[in-house]
């Protein structure tokens, strides 16, 4: 029986390299979990994370008296890793041990200011485990979701949550607060529209609560995309919804589209292009504009009635209205389209699936599935071919992550 004194090994952790896991017989790495103290809520989030990530499996097994007690490796035949956890007083200590190479690959302490934010702590742990097992990083799992919820007619509030919607905090309420969008990569500020006498665009710091008025416009004012200091807006200065670019530093507003119908949902694409939704052919579809040449052309030739779009390199995901019933339920499905090969993959089958957004790495899509008085946040793992849903007992109006 091989016994290893872990605390000795931890001293050498800094010098160790990441190990790349090779699947044996196409099976996922298995992690057995031992814990000294680990509230059930934390265990549940860890299980959810593992399911969403889909790169490895975990098996929460035994209680231990101390995180540094000796390991009996023989009892864990069939497992690749041992994860030891101990939570107390808003601290989580995690130790990940490779049962094959007999090396500690992670030893880390996670601290949270209050227990309420525990989902973010577990997401940080899951992010690290995934990295240490040699998989492609998944930064999106640590992100905050900002979303607007329908509370009552003319009343929508803005909340922030973790990716499983377990943590929920209302940050803006009173009146119609819609279309929140993260203002920076650190996720400390958001843009959102308040519908008052006219729509007003605010920038709001979620930590300080400081709110700054950015713009007002008659009719309609929505932030569709943010890229550094530039915003893509849907504005209706002359009662006409078109796409504008606004530079937050220079305060310059530039009109990018001019069409008598509907132009909305502008997204930055490549370095010098935007894609957007327009009804130029009598139905909503995806178009692109080259900002250097000012040429507008149809972006997708597959299907029609695409009402929202997100683009990652050659991959395009659209929400497509597949029925046209005035007096019956309509179906909105998500389609993944490869721009170069015209390969089309149906991602959802039935219901009302809307507002798809690619993760920064393009491997995951978040979207909203609505049903009567409820919404679900959907997470599609493209390479893993899986969809996960997290339910809210309210209607989500829009979201960003």
């Amino acid at each position: 029986m091989r016994i290893i004194i872990l605390f000795f090994m931890v001293l050498f952790l800094e010098a160790q390299n990441l190990e790349i896991i090779k699947y044996v017989n196409n099976t996922k790495p298995k992690i057995v979990v031992e814990y000294k103290t680990l509230p059930l809520k934390l265990q549940n989030i860890l299980k959810k994370d593992t399911s969403i990530i889909s790169h490895y499996e975990i098996d929460i097994k035994n209680k231990i008296s101390d995180i540094s007690e000796a390991i009996d490796t023989k009892q864990y035949n069939g497992y690749n890793y041992l994860l030891r956890l101990d939570y107390h007083n808003n601290f989580l200590i995690a130790l990940l041990y490779n049962l094959v190479s007999h090396k500690v690959v992670l030893y880390k302490k996670y601290k949270i200011p209050t227990f309420k934010v525990y989902p973010f702590m577990i997401h940080a742990l899951s992010y690290d485990i995934n990295n240490k097992l040699g998989f492609k990083p998944i930064p999106w799992i640590r992100k905050k979701i900002v979303y607007s919820i329908y509370m009552a007619p003319k009343e929508q509030s803005i909340f922030i949550s973790d990716i499983t919607l377990t943590y929920r905090k209302k940050i803006i309420s009173g009146g119609l607060n819609i279309f929140p969008k993260w203002a920076n990569k650190k996720q400390t500020e958001i843009y959102y529209t308040k519908l008052a006498r006219q729509p007003i665009l605010y920038k709001y710091n979620i930590h300080t609560g400081i709110k700054k008025k950015i713009l007002t416009s008659p009719g309609m004012l929505i932030v569709s995309d943010v890229k550094d200091d530039k915003l893509l807006l849907t504005l209706a200065i002359n009662d006409q919804p078109d796409i504008y670019e606004y530079n937050i530093k220079t305060k310059k507003l530039k009109r990018l589209t001019k069409y008598v119908g509907i132009d909305v949902n502008g997204q930055f694409y490549d370095n010098n292009k935007i894609v957007f939704i327009s009804n130029r052919l009598g139905y909503p579809n995806v178009y692109q504009k080259n900002l250097d040449t000012n040429k507008v052309k149809q972006f997708l030739y597959h299907g029609k009635n695409h009402i929202s779009v997100s683009v990652y390199k050659d991959k395009v995901v659209v929400s497509s209205r597949e029925t046209n019933k005035a007096f019956d339920n309509n179906t909105f499905n998500l389609l993944l389209i490869n721009k170069n090969t015209n390969f089309v993959k149906r991602l959802t089958f039935g219901g009302k699936n809307m507002m798809p957004v690619f993760s920064q790495d393009g491997g995951t899509i978040l979207f909203i599935k609505s049903y009567k008085f409820n919404s679900k946040l959907g997470i599609i793992r493209l390479n893993e071919n899986k969809i996960f849903y997290f339910k809210l007992n309210r209607i989500i109006q829009s979201f960003d992550f």
Binding site: L176, M220, A236, I395
Partner: protein
């Protein structure tokens, strides 16, 4: 009779600040309680003077007709707001053109606005059904408001008196999930701005 009209007009000025629209055909029977109220309140007059409405004895049961000429701007606005709130233009699914059967409503709104003797700004509010929550739906609501705004201008309503906004699906009049509700929610409302 002239004196009586002035009295009625002064009552309406006060009632204009209330949430409920005052009846223009004033029935004296309804004011019997109002007749008693000032006496009851005399003792606490100082404390309530600034918040309580002044109520006046109308003496008999005669019904008094009030013409618009004798109304203050506040009363006229109140009347206009109330009238406009009842006007609704409905649209077809995913459309923003005015249906033929809705044209008389637009014409009626145009006549109301042209006939009003008060200074006003009216906001046309475009609304949608629940089949879409994103930007396209808000734009659809805006186009519905814009179409009606243009029709009103064509019918002679000054453009600078009209403004538009879209509420997308955020302001339903009907929250059930059925076809009757969806049809009711695809609409334009008219709101008199303060």
């Amino acid at each position: 009779m002239k004196k009586r009209l002035l009295l009625v007009a002064s009552i309406l000025v006060v009632l204009a600040g209330c949430a409920k629209q005052p009846e223009l055909d004033v029935n004296a029977e309804q004011n019997k309680t109002a007749q008693e109220a000032p006496q009851a309140n005399t003792a606490q007059e100082d404390a309530t003077q600034t918040t309580q409405p002044t109520e006046t004895d109308l003496t008999d049961n005669t019904t008094v007709k009030v013409t618009e000429d004798s109304m203050t701007p506040e009363v006229l606005n109140q009347k206009l707001a109330n009238t406009l709130s009842k006007e609704v233009v409905h649209f077809d699914f995913d459309k923003y053109n005015i249906r033929e059967d809705q044209l008389p409503i637009v014409e009626e709104v145009a006549n109301i606005l042209k006939d009003t003797k008060t200074n006003y700004t009216v906001r046309i509010e475009g609304n949608c059904d629940e089949w879409g929550t994103d930007e396209y739906n808000y734009a659809l609501g805006l186009k519905r408001a814009k179409t009606v705004k243009q029709a009103l201008i064509d019918l002679g309503v000054p453009a600078d008196k009209l403004t538009i906004i879209s509420y997308g699906e955020s302001n339903p009049v009907c929250t059930a999930h059925n076809k009757a509700c969806w049809a009711k929610n695809r609409r334009d409302n008219f709101t008199l701005l303060p």
